[in-house]
């Protein structure tokens, strides 16, 4: 019998996290990663920072040159997976080659959604997800002054910041009534909006784009409601979707993403999925869903890696969370940001100041926390939610002194190990 062979499709955060974990458990198994990219591994979330010029392209590499050697892994660059044969345990590439595997991890991440807007192709659709996209945008920007950003999700907002910092006139267009609808509540979003406006960023929310046209070297954005807007360059950041097209006939269950159980395994034994491509259980409800953020990718990759290497480790489920820094401000959201019926909401806001605190609790547990420009340790709040720490009698001081109280509760929980396991 030969060595056990792990094949990982993708080379992003989930893939690298799985690689590290497999290697931690087993020193002998063979590990191979395949990526469609021609670049050394990077995270798409660093790309907006290339726009602002905060970081150089050479500095966004996630791993050192000798890392894969250390990990005794091989990386094949520039190969796309065409199909998977789960019977013969074989992966076929678009160049006609193929690979066999004993365990397979699909960590292909996501690709930008291309909205069905008339004229988008003619105006040169510009998504923002790969280093190639980023280079294309930087090239487009040469000699231009105004940029339209379609979509006010985290990517769109980060791109907008990068562009604004470089002196471009930026217009953000969002069809939802508020910014960052997937990460922040209305209050926080409106405070963030004010800060963006102060920085000279134009914001158009609740605007449905009906069509785009190229007119006299400019891109005209027309809306189903209101006057059109002209920009030099249009970049589309309306969200991402799992990159799953290649598995269509493989018999692997796919909803929006690849469905996985708590071990990150698909319905096919030996095949796992992690990261943006996977639809994993939600921390609160246990039902499957997408959560395309980096911390989830790392965690899921680690869980998948453990199980691939023969351990039995279960995922506690993903939690929505993010930290968003913009123009010297910091917004943090961990867990729930809109309450369900029966949830308790604690809230503090100072008028005319970008300062905001909100906690969502149910019974004695914290379910969500949102902060704007508050000196707290975000990870400690994540800990309190994930460990279901009893905050019962301390909700008020947790709101009033969030930094100190969260640390105290965390240290007490660590010390006493009074971590409740009930949901």
């Amino acid at each position: 019998m030969g060595k056990h062979k792990h094949l990982i499709i993708g080379c992003g955060s989930a893939a690298l996290s799985a690689l590290k974990q497999i290697r931690k458990v087993t020193s002998e198994d063979e590990i191979k990663l395949v990526t469609m990219e021609d670049y050394p591994p990077y995270s798409p979330m660093s790309l907006p920072y290339l726009i602002s010029g905060r970081i150089k392209e050479s500095d966004i590499q996630m791993i050192g040159d000798d890392y894969l050697d250390q990990m005794k892994a091989t990386l094949i660059e520039g190969e796309r997976v065409d199909s998977i044969d789960t019977q013969s345990k074989e992966v076929n590439y678009d160049n006609g080659e193929s690979d066999i595997y004993d365990t397979l991890l699909i960590a292909t991440g996501s690709e930008p959604v291309k909205p069905a807007i008339r004229g988008l192709d003619e105006c040169g659709f510009l998504g923002f997800h790969t280093i190639e996209d980023c280079k294309k945008l930087l090239k487009e920007l040469e000699g231009k002054t105004s940029v339209g950003v379609l979509g006010a999700g985290l990517v769109g907002m980060e791109v907008a910041i990068g562009l604004a910092e470089r002196g471009y006139q930026v217009t953000i267009v969002e069809k939802e009534p508020r910014l960052l609808p997937l990460y922040f509540d209305e209050e926080a979003a409106s405070l963030i909006r004010d800060i963006f406006l102060n920085q000279g960023v134009r914001i158009m929310t609740g605007k449905e784009v009906s069509e785009v046209n190229r007119k006299k070297g400019k891109v005209e954005i027309s809306f189903s409601n209101g006057d059109p807007v002209n920009v030099d360059v249009l970049v589309t950041c309306v969200g991402v979707k799992p990159r799953t097209t290649f598995i269509k006939d493989a018999g692997i269950a796919v909803n929006n993403g690849i469905l996985v159980d708590r071990r990150m395994m698909t319905n096919v034994k030996g095949i796992y999925a992690a990261g943006d491509v996977a639809e994993a259980p939600n921390f609160f409800t246990g039902s499957n869903g997408l959560n395309p953020i980096l911390p989830s990718a790392v965690k899921q990759g680690k869980i998948a890696g453990s199980n691939m290497a023969g351990q039995e480790v279960e995922y506690e489920g993903w939690l929505p969370m993010n930290t968003f820094n913009f123009f010297g401000h910091l917004a943090i959201s961990v867990g729930k940001f809109t309450p369900s019926r029966g949830d308790e909401v604690l809230f503090e806001k100072e008028p005319n100041k970008p300062h905001y605190k909100k906690l969502i609790c149910r019974d004695d547990r914290l379910l969500g926390a949102t902060f704007l420009d508050t000196d707290i340790d975000a990870g400690v709040f994540r800990y309190l939610i994930e460990k279901r720490v009893d905050v019962g009698s301390y909700k008020e001081i947790l709101l009033n002194f969030p930094g100190e109280t969260s640390l105290w509760l965390m240290l007490e929980a660590e010390r006493k190990e009074t971590i409740s396991l009930e949901a």
Partner: protein
């Protein structure tokens, strides 16, 4: 592969309200660090009377490192410090979201993260703390003593027994070229097995309690005759070395046999049902020194066998515990260097089953034994006694007995136990003050 590194330890005792000295010291040194991002933070929450300091744990598997999208955060394999490479840092703040312990801070103004870097190995907050609450625990140097593990995975001993850890550690220090001798007792299950198969991967022999050093000495002499210098080590409990096998131990010491005898002292015959031994402490409960109306545990003090062995004037005698592994490793190394006689190490080894202590407390007990002077760490080397670990402020004996049920009946008589501890400590102290006789 697990590795040990240095770390800052912050005592659980409360800091004075409003004290900010550690934090100020940190900010004083790290000039570019914003106040809210201090490498060590003083935390004051008077509402619940909570006053402490928080800093980076320099985790073994840092969550901040795992989540960093550009690999800007790395844990050094040399000094174990988790550092941020500013050139690669996006300032995305995900690390602060990943860290559960408040060890890394995002500065919105500076758009980057800050964290403790242990001042590159000499953390200044430690000396600055007027309460002595912050200490710098250096664990790395112990590595230089350790070779490969000579035991299989797993243990047949009771849950939480440190004797397994101690023997595993001992053989990691001693290395392969060692002939290990055991006698009936708990750890013999590890050495030779009792229907369980052996856990030890090296050469070993199980002898009787009554002839352990004699057997080892015979094997040693045989090999010497064959022109080989083989290290012969006896590892047995207090039942053997303090009681049943004391005579052969004393005899081998007096004859100058070049063997190493290590007594793991769990203060009783734990293997056979928790009977008293010559090493059972004053007032200690065992099944043969019960607690009732006429008797409250053992009524007489234990033999001080390490002192008795030193009185044999063999080349090397020491006390040790696995709670101070580096101290123990140093002593093993000294014992191994002796070629002209016996070395004896007396190793305190708490017994969760027999001492009625919780299974996660053995190391705490080892440390408390030293910190209360119940079991001072000292060595006797060719005529000279010295302490190897000075306890500046010894804790009261209550800090030791509180860990275990075998002392749970103690009330007023705690004073007598304290006096006994003080007296024994004073004896060793006086021995360490003996100067070499003039003209020698």
């Amino acid at each position: 592969m697990s590795t040990f590194y240095d770390t800052i330890k912050i005592e659980e005792t409360s800091c004075p309200a409003d004290c900010l000295i550690c934090q100020e010291k940190c900010l004083d040194i790290k000039q570019d660090m914003p106040a809210e991002c201090s490498g060590i933070k003083a935390i004051h929450l008077p509402e619940v009377n909570f006053h402490t300091a928080v800093t980076c744990n320099q985790c073994g598997e840092p969550a901040c490192e795992e989540v960093c999208p550009t690999g800007a955060i790395t844990k050094s394999s040399v000094d174990g410090i988790v550092r941020v490479n500013e050139a690669k840092c996006l300032g995305c703040g995900l690390c602060a979201l990943a860290c559960s312990y408040g060890g890394i801070h995002y500065a919105a103004g500076a758009k980057r993260v800050f964290k403790c870097d242990l001042c590159n190995g000499d953390p200044q907050c430690v000396g600055a703390c007027p309460q002595g609450i912050i200490s710098f625990i250096r664990s790395r140097p112990v590595l230089q003593y350790l070779h490969e593990d000579l035991f299989r995975m797993g243990t047949p001993l009771c849950l939480g027994c440190p004797a397994e850890l101690a023997l595993r550690f001992t053989m990691k220090v001693m290395g392969k070229d060692t002939f290990l001798f055991g006698a009936p007792g708990c750890v013999v299950l590890l050495i030779c097995g009792m229907g369980t198969g052996t856990f030890y991967l090296g050469t070993c022999h199980m002898s009787n309690m009554t002839n352990l050093p004699s057997t080892a000495a015979g094997v040693k002499r045989y090999y010497r005759k064959m022109g080989k210098d083989i290290r012969c080590v006896c590892f047995a409990g207090d039942g053997c070395f303090v009681d049943v096998g004391f005579q052969p131990l004393s005899g081998a010491a007096e004859r100058g046999e070049n063997i190493i005898c290590i007594c793991y002292d769990n203060e009783g015959y734990m293997n056979t049902g928790i009977q008293r031994s010559g090493s059972t402490p004053y007032l200690g409960w065992t099944t043969t020194t019960p607690v009732g109306i006429t008797q409250r545990g053992k009524q007489m003090p234990p033999k001080d066998v390490p002192l008795i062995m030193a009185a044999h004037q063999i080349p090397y005698v020491a006390t040790a515990t696995i709670g101070y592994p580096e101290d123990y490793a140093k002593k093993l190394t000294k014992a191994m260097a002796v070629k002209d006689g016996m070395s004896y190490i007396h190793l305190l080894s708490p017994c969760p089953t027999g001492w009625r202590s919780s299974t996660d407390s053995a190391i705490d007990i080892c440390r408390a034994a030293v910190e209360t002077n119940y079991f001072p760490l000292w060595e006797y080397e060719r005529g000279e006694y010295r302490f190897t670990h000075i306890v500046d402020r010894p804790k009261p004996i209550t800090e030791y007995v509180r860990f275990m049920g075998k002392f749970s009946h103690i009330d007023e008589d705690i004073k007598e136990l304290q006096q006994l501890v003080n007296r024994r400590f004073a004896i060793i102290k006086s021995l360490t003050e003996i100067k070499e006789p003039a003209g020698n």
